[in-house]
Symmetry: C2
Subunit: 684 residues, 2 copies
């Protein structure tokens, strides 16, 4: 496998090494020389020697075998260099050079040429327009990061789509004692992309967790597959840049306008069980601690020598959707034997300001038995002993290596040595309570999603409905499709002639609703194209004449009139739900379940799910506003119905790639019946 | 003023100074001696000398004048010591001793005795159960914080309700070069409380910003008044501990159950224009930079040498509700003359990875003209020059001292010196983009609320309606009150006898609604006590008989039947709003405006406002979901109506302290009419 070769080459050639110390090609060679134990070659037609190494005019002049080429030459010479490499049987190349897709038209053409060449080549390539690649064991730094940057060996792999951010994060990581297994700048990814790297790192035994900085993806499905496989083996943490653009294309559907561009990423990451963070800051603790323990429960214990510290930590725990663990009567009794009478024996446990290291030891030994994550919050006070307390914590870790015991040492100079003591022993210690809570929350998410199953999707065996329309489809035409898909819709019929009016109405029953159906009219209500509450034939006839006149007046050539039952007839407090589908450009179909009605967009209370809904997601849906609303009127069974609908819609969209958006709004719930009252299918 | 005396005493006595270096009374004396230039006395009946200072048996033995006593003796001796101090004409005391309200019954009794004594004394007291007080100019440290803690002089005053948190924060602050003017641990506040301290610090010229850690308040109204006055002069930043308890008391009203305990604090702080933070971490940047500049606009400019850094910063800006400033054509033209062709000239402005200090200088000079906050994001890259870039930024600050120019130097060792360079010059520099964005967001909030007016409240001159009921009031009884208050309600009447049924119905009009009204029945719908959609006398008679039977069957002794018009008759898409009031135990009345209907609690989309609604708050309301919903159906005028209703409800609750909660749910909006359909007043 060539990715392994890139990260562990037996020989490297730098094509475009430079004598000028201000040039990229100088820094790369310097970094390789100062880290790498294998054979290094240099190609530069204008030099005889660079940094003490003989320089060749061309790679083809080198006699020895070369595994990997690091290319840093003008963009328009890169293709020829690759061809030379192929001739020389180089297995892989890292193209540092910029000047490709990122600079516009001319660059895109160059990039297309590279891709075309690589299609018929066995060579694997990282880049172009990247910072390069670093491996720590065995060490090799094939990047142009500042040669002064300290980089420690560790177990975190870091993949970044931004070179500048990569330099900054790697520089910063050394200060937090964070070590790496591999660091990879992907650049424009003409060949090896994020998904390939995930596949490789998943199996890499030196990597225990993977951190990604992403701005966009070319192939969402491929990435998602690799991500899901990777999270089965180790935690993956993602910072996505470019979260804030609402979808920009003009959209007719409610569902489409409610879905933001980032929403699809968020769902995809969540489904694949990746932990997402939103700050660079947040990345560091995960880089350091994500692989250290499993968080199997959302109940957290807090023990502190500072009342205020306990209060703040509880706040964060509650705000993150975690729970303060209940302390059983037995444990309270045990604690009462070792803590002074003024202590608080309930969570957060307050060991009081004068807590000695021994008091920490006794308390933590009792709490460790509960096998739940513990946050110890230490505040420096007169009489408190930070280093000795850190040692007590270290001993508990040694005795219970799998116990998630996270320490927070509040303060500065007075506790620095204690933090240092634990950091050096690779134990999770933080400066602020929210950091510990974020780690627990992220890793609990990871734990519960990694073990989540998707059986509902497979159990939903409805046959796939085919839909070949090339035009947006509304009204009865759409109703027939949803009937096939297996979503309950209101009774209705097209009124083709006035003569059939009475007969149809009697079949459907009064009170009923008469609507204009037309591809030209997206929002019937707005033009007065819906007449509700029709109670008898007189009213119906009047409505029919009125709408017929409107069709003539407004020249709606394709208009039909359709008669529907009134789904809310005689029901008290019907609830309107929005059910919809939206096809994301990168990740494909996503299904919307939200508060519906004509004001769905203002209320903007919609949950999106991917077609394959996991058990964990269903559990979470129950606690959303729309979930609670559905359960409150129809019970859990009603929510199950909607989940089945969502899965069916998803299968329908997966099978019919022409479908862009679906709106079923409202779907009315009243007294245990659910019917979609209005239905639209938008095509691409 | 005695608070000034406490912070700037001419002489101090330590009552309870100790020879034992592990005792609080030793640390206090040590801290005073190492910081204070005035006269120090010591009282300890069992010692002749402590730390080289002569010890008196009692304060009354001291001949010289003593300004302030610092008391650290057993709790049950404190009252006598205070009495001695009074005899000695000591002006103020700081009671460090614990053992009062915080330990339960015995302590509460002791604390009540202190309060009773102080009521008739001129002495002012801080504490008990506190860490003490520190002033930096002139310096005096009258606390038992670890004597090794470095504390710098600066312009931030810090008030804390948690001593342990105070030690930790002060210890940590020294590492971030944060200086203080005053540091005050309030303890149980038997005399001087947070409001008194705000009043003092507001006028203190050495204090430019005030930071508070609060867990609770005894007198919300007093605090709020002082807070509002303080924010007129300087920024106040609050971290509230104990945010996560939902209101615990059992509540019958929708409004009460939707209001959390923290909600009232949040509203009060917001109304007073205080900046709230939720992490200890977040406090530090505000401590350092809150008084450095005004943020008059929510439009932010980002300039960077790192594409990824620009992307991430934009994300934070959007997520914080700020805007990316539009760059005008003229500025783009100006930038195009000084930046390379591949640069991005639109916000975020990308000066490219090889940006020299000169390129920063030229770019920032152009951008400074726009007079909007600028975030410069620097990433260490090969060829970039951090220190020289920091110097360029320093020069711009010097030339434009009032320009909000915030620097982010991403990275670790490679940029540390540059960050240090700016920190030492008291310039705002951060490690991560979100920190700069949080500061801008907080200070913009402060700027816009500080200058907000409240004229709407005063303009609303409706006369105050008196309500003396001692029982919960529903139905027609409540309707009459709301009619007086000036809130539009549905037409209705009590049906006292069957004979009046027809006449009343004809006055109200069909279709109509018949309801049971009873103090015993909070949720009429649940027992089938509401019959809607009554279209004629036949149906009405049937309904009347049905409900009368129900009253007899269920023995609802106080029941009346009430007939109402159907507010939604013939309306399409009526919208249901919840309008309500809730009296918070600390801050008094708050008014709720939310999405209404029987499912209001599940949808849980409610905005709370205080009775005095500022212009700024009205602006913000328009962008909430409920604001958008109201505007979408009734326009801005309709939102104005609701705001007037909210103000009237607030005035009503302010005038009638017996009113605990009010529910007007739903208030139906349809076709420019607004009517409350159901109304309840709950009393305490």
């Amino acid at each position: 496998m060539s990715i392994e070769k890139i990260l562990n080459p037996e020989s490297i050639v730098v094509i475009g090494a430079s004598r000028n110390p201000n040039k990229v090609g100088s820094a790369i060679l310097k970094n390789i020389r100062s880290t790498y134990g294998g054979k290094i070659f240099v190609v530069n037609p204008f030099a005889d020697k660079i940094q003490e190494i003989k320089s060749y005019k061309s790679i083809t002049n080198i006699k020895e075998k070369v595994d990997v080429a690091v290319i840093s030459i003008p963009a328009d010479e890169v293709l020829q260099a690759l061809k030379d490499c192929e001739k020389k049987k180089v297995e892989a190349a890292i193209i540092i050079s910029a000047g490709f897709k990122e600079i516009g038209k001319a660059g895109s053409k160059r990039e297309a040429e590279l891709r075309a060449f690589l299609k018929n080549s066995k060579m694997r390539v990282i880049g172009p327009n990247c910072l390069g690649v670093i491996s720590l064991d065995p060490p090799v730094n094939m990047t142009f990061v500042d040669p002064n940057t300290k980089i420690f060996k560790g177990t975190t792999a870091f993949i970044s789509q931004s070179g500048a951010l990569l330099s900054a994060i790697v520089d910063d990581a050394s200060e937090s004692d964070i070590g790496f297994s591999k660091i990879i700048s992907v650049g424009n990814a003409v060949d090896i992309d994020e998904a390939d790297l995930l596949d490789y790192l998943r199996e890499d035994e030196k990597t225990k967790s993977i951190v990604l900085y992403l701005e966009g993806l070319n192939n969402g499905e491929k990435f998602l597959r690799s991500l899901k496989e990777a999270t089965k083996k180790k935690p993956v943490i993602i910072l996505k840049g470019g979260r804030s653009n609402k979808t920009s294309s003009a959209v007719m559907s409610h569902t489409g306008s409610l879905a933001g561009d980032y929403k699809a990423y968020e769902l995809a990451f969540e489904k694949a069980g990746a932990i997402t963070v939103s700050n660079v800051d947040d990345l560091f603790n995960f880089m350091r601690d994500a692989s250290k323990f499993d968080i199997k429960t959302d109940e957290v214990i807090v023990a502190t020598n500072a009342g205020g510290g306990g209060v703040i930590t509880s706040d964060h725990i509650n705000e993150k959707g975690l729970k303060m663990a209940q302390i059983s009567d037995k444990t309270v009794l045990d604690l009462s034997k070792i803590l002074p009478p003024e202590s608080n024996l309930h969570n957060p446990i307050d060991m009081l300001g004068d807590a000695s290291p021994d008091r920490y030891k006794n308390t933590l030994e009792v709490l460790a038995e509960l096998k739940k994550p513990i946050i110890v919050v230490f505040s420096p006070q007169e009489m408190s002993m930070p280093i000795e307390t850190a040692k007590v914590i270290y001993n508990i870790h040694t005795k219970k290596p799998s116990l998630p015991l996270l320490s927070v040492f509040l303060g500065g100079t007075n506790v620095e040595k204690a933090r240092r003591f634990l950091v050096e022993r690779a134990l999770p210690v933080y400066e602020y309570p929210n950091e510990a809570v974020d780690i627990i929350s992220g890793l609990h998410f990871y734990y519960s999603h990694r073990n989540s199953t998707y059986y509902r999707y497979d159990r939903e065996k409805a046959k796939i409905t085919s839909f070949k329309s090339k035009v947006n489809t509304f009204g009865m035409d759409a109703k027939l499709i949803f009937d096939k898909i297996g979503i309950n819709t209101v009774n209705g019929a097209v009124i083709s002639e006035e003569a059939s009016l009475k007969r149809t109405a009697e079949k459907i029953g009064y009170q009923c609703v008469l609507k204009i159906s037309s591809k030209m009219v997206a929002h019937k209500n707005k033009i007065g194209g819906v007449i509700t509450n029709i109670k008898n034939y007189n009213e119906l006839e009047k409505a029919f004449k009125g709408l017929s006149q409107k069709i003539r007046d407004e020249k709606i050539n394709d208009a039909k009139l359709e008669l529907y039952e009134d789904a809310t007839k005689g029901k008290t407090n019907p609830v309107e739900i929005l059910l919809g589908g939206h096809r994301d450009a990168v990740f494909g179909p996503m299904i919307a379940l939200g508060i519906g009605g004509v004001h769905a967009n203002e209320i903007d209370e919609v949950e999106f799910v991917l077609p394959q809904i996991s058990d964990q997601k269903i559990k979470e849906l129950k606690n959303t506003k729309v979930g609670k609303l559905i359960v409150s009127v129809g019970g859990h069974q009603m929510l199950d119905t909607f989940i089945a609908y969502a899965i069916r819609l998803g299968k329908f969209m997966e099978a019919n790639k022409n479908v862009k958006d679906i709106d079923l709004n409202p779907v009315v719930i009243s007294e245990n019946r659910t019917v979609a009252v209005d239905f639209k299918i938008f095509v691409e």
